[in-house]
Symmetry: D2
Subunit: 353 residues, 4 copies
């Protein structure tokens, strides 16, 4: 029963813009597979408003679903989500964003690559480089396709620019790596690292279960997957060091806050930490450093920002870092679009601020 | 400690846009007074990204505050909120958005008008046309300035287009009027109307109090201001009929859901109701009709949409309507920008989708 | 891995009590069928600590489940929930509390009655007296067994005292009837009644579904079952008048707040309303009248109280009442135990304060 | 407007008890100072129903307040909270529970002790034994009165039995110490300990502030007081080892979940850990060990239980423990009453199950 025309791209540019944006005819055509989950919906929301690419199709996770409308996205994206259709993806898109269960991604991504498309995969299927690790945590993925790049955008724009398949990082690793990478590269860390993560319930996915029931989470907090969460392997791969990682569900919808406990190399000062962080992110539009003022989750909800703060206790060589992201944006759909922008030679902020 | 350049308007338009947007030099210059409250922050957020106006200054509610940064808005609006300064508003802006306590608006708006500026006022100071009502509910407002228009955008674009002072509707009246106006105009309503409103706690404002304490609201619901909320007078003024209005605080941050109970004129069919609603909003980009599928609050959070659904019981001539808005967007800052767009001759969707 | 003895009834009575409470040998033996749902768990919690009855067995809803421990109730009730077993109920109990789906209750209750047990049923199976209404809303219930009493305790202690089957009221009707009954009996009401109810998500039951998913409720409110909720028939039956009833889910776990809109007979004063309410509940230990100070949901969470306040607008003959209960206590398990106390000749507060 | 008699102690014992409980005349008389805060309210709630002591008076934190009723406690405790009055405490009570700001406790406790009363203090004023530590964190407390005992009940019943002043542990230390003490005593721990704590907002107290505003916490998580929370000193005092402690506010009202990271001495097995925990709490009625099944906060809300689980990674000698309590019960009022029970020679469970 929705009414009113909705050519909102004109609206976004103001009354005086119209169709005169040069190069519109050469806009990249983007498809989404897995558009009905939480990350998929967020992809639709971002790409439908993206000023420099065209979302041509949003498909379900399977080929037998019936087309369905998305009332929450009326006026933003008025097309239905249609069944998965590889031929149509090949005909109508240049790049496909996969927001699928990892086994489905493991199967579909090589097919799409073979037919000439580029792919951003939001699942874990292609994140682990070592066969042994991948076989343990993502057994459906036999091999990594040539041209696969681990897509933590910050610092890896060059590889991502020409990647055929970008494997988008996990939500938990995104925050942990953005906080720790600069210190590791500067040689300021030593010894054990603890990552204590607090995640909103949307991180547990859209499938109804006892775990995602409102009454099981309201007024509660619970740790899970201690010593057994596969994001641990991903963080350890990128940091090349052992990490103790414990995720928790907290009673909110969107967002992750990670509290990270580490030891500094002897003599490291707070100023050295600040310098390492500042110089690492001098050109990173989505990393906001809050310094010794710790960041809060609400400041990044519904944004692609990762806010990072820290506190150093010089006498005891301890550091506590706090990093916050929106798990569905910087932890999934937003960073996927950030990677897409880089792949297409666009400013990485396009459509994300 | 924020880094990286943040000329995000370029980013919004993609890599190929740059500064070449014609007419940029003639963009309207907008100022905000009262930028630190919840509605004011939302105004900054929207106007900083607005593609067709320039936010030139964001000021506090008082002239004696010290400038302060807004960490949540870093990279979106990196200027500090400065003390209120009328001369500077006159020099640097064409239109001023007032997100002030009503007594402050009552005093400031006439001054700004007298000095040639146009004003959108988000307080209640100028909403009631009848002196007796205004003196009861907004005693600080002596008279309505000439050229004042009640700014429920939908259906009133013509008056708003040339208004000097647009008085933005209250959050509760916005949802109630959008739901009821089409039926009233079509002559389908008779008898008493009940508006039962459920609001998020941000509607109670940013000032800490027992009412806004987390622990007083978590796990609780409370009605307030029964028979004594001043939004009643505003709804009654616009509908020209008596209304029983009871607001409640529910444990969420943003959004209002109103359940509206009314009686239809004898013989009215569900189809007539649907026709009246559909034709009323055929050209309204921000009203989404969900028909007999009732709307949910989460679908409009962080948007300028008002979703409206209804259920008719023909044998008993009863109708229940449900309308949802984000109280800080369509209920405040979003509709203020929608009005601003109309005042400036822009597409009313500009910057709001 | 729970340790330590847990003879907590001794503990409850202090060090000096021990087993010397006279009459312990004649304590009524109580069983629960359906102990794993939210209302069933609450029954276990209350009855396990009840000082004057003995909870002998807690059974699941079906006869094929495997026994399971209840970690949340460790030290309070350390026995497992066992499969449903009618013979064992007959052997080991005097009264059975049924917290079952209504079709299961409809089948089981007559069997238990026939074998000499008394029953308190928490489902809707036996609430509607008129066959036509019952066949529409609870088609599994062919007839009402002899000796069935509608169990709104307040005011009906006499019938409940000797009932064989007490049909516990629905959660929504409990609050509505406690608020409206005194006014109706005093002849102070006229015309249409609107009951707008806000319920915590535990009211939707323990089964995982999209409706009960955390992310669908957090930050949201939704109306449901407009003109089609079967509690409407129950309220109308008890009030003998038509009611417009709309329930909503609000983002909290436990509790119901109802806002009730009614019209007073001409000339009714606020004092008459207060007198009617006060005299109706002079001896009701679980109804707390807050007068013109409206009640808040949090004050009754985890209690068996129903708090009721109201506001009268004498010139327009309108009244708004607000009633709050914990849907799992006064709206289910608590009122069931209150009825049990009356059936057993105990003080109705026993085990409930 | 509350009605109905409320001699609920009779009700608690069932219809057959009446006043015949022997020894009622020798029941200890208890007073509360600071009854209006969250912990104070919980004390009233528990003590008003306590079967073996008599709550004789509930006082405010200051001597100049006006008496006020507590609507949430109507029918449970119908007396008003009166101004603080030392002479009346001396006349009417045997033991006083102090739920005051620590500076007020520091001043009042010695006075009460000098006048012959026994005291349970819920503030931090008397928790730190070393003068240097106390002067840093609780400068208002000049000295520890003779007969002061740190009141973590579990394992310290003997000292508490005869203490004049019991200093109730902090909420965060309670969970941390209950989890770690058995392992420390068994010699199973080595190296650094990290305690990452997530607390409900009631832990921040009842005073309205930006920190406790609903909208600042809903949908958010924030760490605070890194390297500077005074509970660190308390945990370190009791464990005799350094601890990194970071508290967080999570968006719920009541409860604390602590995730504790530690290193086991080489060769320690999971079985040894389980044995140490089980034997430590064999006789502790309020510690429930969940073993490798991690505990969830909701299971202890509104109870005096501390649930503790853990996970051991034998190859890397790491252990993660998770402990949960209700911060207002086992973290404050509940453990204070548990201590009171021990001081009076009662079963420590009395009034708490």
């Amino acid at each position: 029963m929705a009414t009113a025309a909705s050519n909102h791209r004109d609206a976004q540019s103001g009354a005086d813009s119209g169709g005169e944006r040069s190069g519109a005819s050469s806009r990249a055509r983007i498809g989404i597979a897995g558009a009905t989950g939480y990350a998929g919906q967020e992809l639709v929301r971002i790409l439908a408003r993206h000023p420099a690419v065209t979302l041509t199709t949003a498909m379900a996770s399977g080929s037998t679903s019936t087309p369905r409308a998305m009332p929450a996205l009326a006026r933003i994206w008025d097309q239905p989500v249609i069944p998965l259709d590889v031929d149509r993806l090949v005909r109508e898109t240049d790049v496909v964003m996969l927001a699928l269960p990892e086994a489905a991604s493991a199967e579909l991504a090589p097919t799409l690559l073979a037919r000439g498309l580029r792919v951003v995969d939001l699942s874990g299927a292609f994140r682990l480089r070592h066969d042994a690790h991948r076989q343990r945590w993502y057994p459906a993925t036999a091999t990594l396709p040539d041209g696969t790049v681990y897509g933590l955008t910050e610092g890896h724009q060059k590889e991502i620019r020409h990647a055929r398949l970008v494997s988008n990082p996990g939500c938990y690793p995104t925050a942990a790596l953005l906080a720790l990478e600069p210190l590791r590269r500067a040689g300021l860390l030593t010894g054990a690292i603890v990552v204590d993560a607090k995640s909103g319930v949307s991180g547990a996915g859209k499938a109804p279960s006892e775990r995602t029931h409102f009454s099981e989470n309201h007024g509660s907090v619970a740790a899970y997957a201690v010593f057994s969460h596969r994001h641990t392997a991903e963080i350890e791969q990128e940091l090349s060091t052992a990490v103790t990682f414990v995720p928790h569900l907290v009673p909110l919808d969107r967002g992750i806050l990670e509290t990270i406990y580490a030891t500094l190399t002897p003599g490291t000062t707070g100023q050295q930490v600040a310098d390492a962080m500042t110089s690492a992110y001098a050109d990173a539009p989505f990393v906001r450093l809050t310094g010794t003022q710790l960041p809060e989750l609400k400041h990044v909800a519904h944004t692609n920002f990762c806010d990072i703060g820290w506190s150093v206790d010089e006498p005891t060589e301890r550091i506590v870092l706090v990093a916050v992201i929106d798990n569905l944006v910087k932890g999934a759909a937003g960073s996927a679009v950030q990677n897409l922008n880089v792949m297409l030679g666009l400013d990485e902020r396009t459509g994300l601020l």
